[in-house]
Symmetry: C2
Subunit: 204 residues, 2 copies
């Protein structure tokens, strides 16, 4: 029955988020899910298998999202929408970002996936930026590599806002999502043209 597997993922996700991946044992997940230790191992032999399954869920959600947000009127609105929606999804699976190093250290295949995904996203941002420049929403580079550097900073922010939030924020999830979406979008603001800034203000 699929029910057990799904329930296990939910329980694992909850415990990972609450206690941290390193502190959660397979036994505690099984107990919380109300099944035997050996039964859990039957479905997911190691903690890694649980993590990978959850990461796959995250990916599935992210892909589904991308289909949906393609209705934006302009690049800036699109960026706003997809960022906010993406951040919301990521936040649900935040244990992945909170314990990223611990997870990747024990999971080289996930590390590779991470690196590959990063390249895809970087390419996506390059395309979006080019589009914005063509539409005169963004200025041109002032030195070569300026936008590539921006993209790296964006990447780091995207990976890091959740751990940072864990340290400094409290309060409702929605507030947090909005705060970091805002902060994220702010990356682009100083590169925008007058025209771009007007569109930006409308979203804000």
């Amino acid at each position: 029955m699929k029910k057990t597997k799904e329930s296990l993922l939910k329980v694992a996700q909850r415990l990972f988020t609450k206690q941290g991946v390193a502190e959660v044992s397979l036994r505690s997940i099984a107990a919380e899910a109300g099944i035997s230790h050996s039964n859990l191992i039957y479905h997911y032999p190691t903690k890694n298998d649980l993590i990978i399954a959850l990461h796959n869920e995250l990916l599935a959600n992210a892909i589904a999202l991308n289909q949906k947000v393609k209705v934006a009127v302009n690049p800036i609105e699109g960026l706003f929408l997809s960022t906010e929606a993406g951040f919301r999804i990521l936040y649900e699976f935040r244990f992945l970002m909170l314990d990223l190093n611990y997870i990747l250290r024990a999971n080289k295949s996930l590390l590779k996936t991470f690196r590959d995904l990063e390249k895809v996203r970087a390419g996506m941002y390059q395309a979006e930026i080019k589009k914005a420049v063509d539409l005169k929403l963004m200025r041109n580079e002032l030195y070569t590599g300026e936008f590539d550097e921006l993209i790296v900073r964006i990447k780091i922010f995207s990976e890091a806002w959740i751990p940072s939030s864990e340290i400094y924020d409290s309060g409702p999830v929605e507030k947090i999502i909005q705060k970091y979406t805002q902060l994220f979008m702010g990356f682009f603001f100083p590169y925008l043209t007058e025209k771009g800034r007007k569109l930006f203000e409308k979203q804000k």
Copy 2:
């Protein structure tokens, strides 16, 4: 004898960096340091005590640094120098940033220290930015809170470049330090005036 305590810190730092804090046991530290398990516990009863001691070392280094870098000619050069030096120190203690969440979860006092330090640093950046604006090296805010948002992004970057580097970089330490110093400084570039950009180019 102080020798034992210092040697223990060094060994712990090395093992934490190599294997991750969660994976290192007190026994393995003792073994690597060539002393008995119970002796280690005599000096540092828990892993947390080791971590706090190492964090104190980091703070001491950082404070010592701040005394030294006050010879900069202008704010931009000063920022370059202190950033690079600060990043170099932080990198030595990178296990703190790599396993930050794991560490802070088990150590509420360190969490408080972290939050307090953050406020200090934010104030410092506000002052530096104000100075740069007064010197016409940086433009004024285009909307209220623009620079405060910038400072938050900077904070997140400062905490996150090491974990990110762990995922995506390889190669000599110095290269890494320079790369992320460069990326960090790039945060300011789009806010600089013509005059500021000239100083910026000279550093780069």
